[in-house]
């Protein structure tokens, strides 16, 4: 038999993302007013954008941080939580913004969710 418990898993992964120590974080994502402490391997498997980024040795990969000037902190947070936990809270306010980011960062599921909601 297989026992499944996605919701605990999902919560635990959010804790990993929100861990205030950020000690074992190995990649920083910056928006104009916040820095998120992230993990390369999670990002790489969840988004083709990050997969390409980490595969090719550009400036960001070497420096260990990337800055998105075109994404707001609130939306970035939602998207990152989705990448970590598979869960996203959407409302009519942010759905379109999320859709745009999902589209750019090539996050297929998130794109589909937000498209349905728009």
């Amino acid at each position: 038999r297989i026992f499944q418990d996605y919701s605990t898993l999902s919560n635990n992964l959010i804790s990993l993302f929100e861990d205030p120590d950020g000690n074992d974080s190995n990649f920083k994502i910056k928006t104009p007013d916040r820095t998120f402490f992230c993990h390369r391997n999670i990002l790489k498997y969840r988004s083709s954008y990050f997969e390409g980024l980490f595969r090719s040795n550009y400036q960001e990969t070497q420096q260990g941080e990337i800055t998105f000037n075109d994404i707001s902190t609130q939306v970035m947070e939602k998207v990152l939580i989705f990448l970590y936990s598979g869960r996203v809270e959407m409302d009519r306010e942010n759905a379109v913004d999320i859709l745009l980011v999902a589209n750019k960062l090539l996050i297929e599921n998130l794109k589909q969710f937000s498209e349905q909601f728009v």
Partner: protein, 736 residues
């Protein structure tokens, strides 16, 4: 919240419309970056900035600028690379080509990564994906360019040739360069197949054709086989090391064709080849040959036929060897020996392959039935074993021999002939008390039963029952004698009688003789007793197979002679005469002259002579009816009891003829039964079908001759079991 709110334009969304100049600016930005990547200077470039630029162009529907631009940049770059690479000389060429290629491939991945949005959202068939476009440009401008392709293939094939000749080459370099042909193939590895694989396979065939021709003429077959095996292992390794796996089956096929298929006939026929290996039981070499031949089409058929041919030939020699024809024991022993030998070859070399086993069996079947001696020889062989030949063997060894007997028996087509002989010798063993062990007798019979069913052994089992019942009858007779009135008048003799049920036992040729009055009286008493106890039975005395013990008084000594009944009768005549001619012996006993001859012979020509021929003549001389014998009163023998053979050990020709005749009689009955059985169920049948069906039904027992079946059909028509259809003479109808 109203619906308007949903459609509100997000503040970070790129404008849908883009000025041409803006598009141009973004492209130039990307172009510079791509050129930097092509010069391996990516670490100062921002991935996000470049990705965002290409993303913006695609969003603004300006992907075309980007795509065509990319094509041009790649075109330009690869053309530059061509010049650089083509300039490299000798070994530098491969190294330069490889290092440029490795860099190029890496660059194409990096370019793909920043143009990923273009790749996903803009590129549509038949346009090539960004990475494939890069591969295509390399193929077009570098790999298949006349300055590169031919030179590269020739150098690669040259290196492989060197490696096949034992030199060490750079496997990693080979793998990378050969893989390049696969990488630039757009579908189904077409470039690899066209430009490299085809020429490689051709070179391979060429190499092994000349190598194998040379090697096989200068070496033994065994050495050649080993060489082939090593070569095949090397080629397997080559596939893993630097070829594309899709080439594997083709390469191995090419090698097998050149190394094995083209030389099969030679390997079989050459002096050190297959034939010699089989002859000399070279199991390991044969095993290798089997393994290698197995790889090519029809390979095993060649090997199998050769082996089966050898088996047939060896068997043919054995069954026709003059010494073996005279000595059944030697014949069967040799057959068991070669069977063992070939079974060993089958298991050690040919993996007990079913086809091989079957063809060996077919060979056995054919030579075992070459002449009709085998049935009798086999029966005689078992006879000897069961008369004491098994004395020194343990149970396991006995079982092995018995199973071999069954195996040979299985190949006999005329099992009924064997059965008759077996019954004949079994009867003789039982009646003369020469059977070594009843257990072993029964074991042997149960093996026949397993093989052929109840019907085959019912008579043999009946013989054993008779032996047991005879013992009971004899005990009863002895009791009867004690209470009988007549008994008081007769001198006592120890008489033993065996009652044989007619049908179970072979019918012995009828003989007659005159018993002495006393014996005759005892026989009458027994008949009286037995027929009283079992009403409705008739007793026929078969004196010719009996035995007797008589006391032989010499002046100084007394011996007991163990004789056949006939010999006893002859010896008794000497109570009343000093000298007797054979003619007189025959007259005095009513025994046929032939039986007299056979009975007398052991008495005067054996180790202990109780009779002597007067005047003495050469032993070997044929006896005539006027030869005269007298008792040998000078007999010197330390034994008290002297045993004489009844006649010569093996059967005389007339007896053998008799056995065969009985087989023919039995066959008529079996064929009649089969025909009636078939016609009863089929009602009407065409002649040929009836013959076929009949032969099939009887094949487990014997192979009936068509002429015999025809005669039986005629006979059954006469007896009104069948009739011909009036309008079709070839059809028969069953008459109920």
């Amino acid at each position: 919240m109203s619906r308007k709110m949903i459609l509100r334009v997000p503040k970070f969304q790129e404008p849908k419309r883009m000025e041409k100049s803006e598009a141009q600016r973004l492209w130039l930005l990307l172009k510079d970056a791509i050129v930097e990547v092509q010069h391996m200077n990516a670490s100062t470039l921002s991935f996000e900035e470049l990705y965002r630029s290409s993303y913006s162009l695609v969003i603004a529907k300006r992907g075309d600028i980007l795509y065509t631009g990319l094509e041009e940049v790649n075109n330009h770059h690869t053309k530059n690379l061509l010049d650089k690479i083509a300039q490299a000389v000798d070994e530098r060429f491969l190294i330069e080509l490889n290092s440029q290629w490795q860099q190029y491939k890496l660059q194409q991945i990096m370019i793909h990564d920043i143009l990923m949005y273009l790749d996903r959202m803009y590129v549509k068939e038949p346009q090539l994906k960004v990475f494939d476009l890069g591969m295509f440009k390399w193929k077009q401008n570098v790999l298949i360019h006349s300055q590169i392709n031919d030179r590269l293939v020739r150098m690669l094939l040259g290196l492989i040739h060197m490696e096949r000749n034992g030199e060490v080459i750079d496997g990693a370099l080979m793998k990378s360069l050969i893989q390049m042909y696969v990488d630039v193939s757009l579908k189904e590895k077409e470039t690899y197949k066209q430009e490299f694989e085809e020429r490689f396979l051709l070179a391979t065939s060429h190499f092994y054709k000349s190598e194998s021709n040379l090697f096989i003429t200068n070496n033994s077959c065994g050495a050649y086989l080993k060489k082939v095996e090593i070569r095949l292992i090397e080629e397997e390794a080559r596939i893993k090391q630097y070829l594309d796996e899709s080439t594997g089956p083709k390469l191995i096929k090419a090698c097998e064709d050149e190394l094995i298929a083209n030389h099969m006939q030679t390997m079989i026929e050459m002096e050190t080849g297959c034939r010699t290996m089989i002859q000399n039981d070279r199991f390991n070499e044969l095993k290798l040959m089997y393994r290698l031949f197995q790889r090519v089409e029809n390979g095993l058929v060649h090997l199998k036929n050769e082996f089966a041919g050898y088996v047939r030939n060896e068997g043919h020699k054995i069954v026709n060897q003059p010494e073996n024809l005279k000595d059944p024991n030697a014949l069967i022993t040799s057959l068991i020996e070669i069977r063992n030998r070939f079974e060993k070859t089958l298991s050690q070399s040919f993996a007990n392959n079913r086809d091989f086993i079957n063809s060996v069996n077919t060979a056995f079947e054919s030579f075992l039935n070459e002449n009709d001696k085998l049935s009798e020889s086999l029966a005689l062989f078992i006879d000897k074993k069961l008369r004491g030949g098994f004395k020194d063997s343990n149970d396991q060894e006995i079982d092995v021999i018995m199973n071999k007997v069954i195996l040979l028996f299985r190949f006999l087509s005329d099992k009924d002939v064997f059965k008759k002989f077996y019954e004949h010798y079994l009867a003789k063993r039982l009646l003369s008390g020469r059977s070594f062990s009843e257990d072993l007798e029964r074991t042997m019979i149960s093996k026949f039963k397993q093989e052929c069913g109840n019907q085959f052994t019912s008579k043999m089992e009946g013989m054993f029952t008779d032996m047991r019942l005879s013992k009971d009858a004899l005990d009863g007779f002895k009791n009867y004698l004690q209470t009988s009135v007549e008994m008081g008048k007769l001198p006592k003799i120890d008489m033993s009688v065996r009652v044989l049920t007619q049908g179970f036992w072979p019918t012995f040729p009828p003989h007659s003789c005159t018993l002495p009055p006393l014996l005759s009286q005892y026989c009458d008493l027994f008949t009286k007793y037995y027929c009283h106890a079992h009403t409705g039975r008739r007793i026929i005395w078969q004196t010719n197979i009996g035995t007797a013990e008589v006391t032989f008084r010499l002046p100084k000594k007394t011996h007991v002679l163990a004789l056949s009944t006939y010999q006893m009768l002859i010896m008794l005549l000497f109570n009343d005469a000093e000298k007797l001619s054979l003619k007189q012996m025959a007259a005095g006993t009513s025994i046929s002259f032939m039986d007299i001859q056979r009975s007398v012979k052991p008495l005067y020509s054996g180790k202990y002579k109780v009779l002597k021929r007067t005047p003495a003549v050469e032993k070997s001389k044929e006896l005539s009816e006027n030869d005269i014998f007298e008792l040998n009163l000078n007999l010197k023998c330390k034994l008290h009891r002297i045993k004489f053979a009844a006649t010569s050990q093996t059967d005389s020709e007339p007896e053998r003829q008799h056995t065969r005749q009985r087989v023919d009689e039995d066959r008529k009955i079996e064929i009649d039964a089969a025909i009636v059985r078939i016609m009863k169920s089929r009602k009407a049948l065409i002649h040929n079908d009836l013959i076929v069906e009949c032969t099939k039904q009887l094949s487990s027992r014997f192979v009936p001759q068509t002429s015999m079946i025809k005669k039986r059909i005629e006979n059954l028509i006469e007896r009104e079991y069948l009739e011909r259809f009036p309008d079709d003479r070839r059809r028969y109808r069953y008459l109920a």
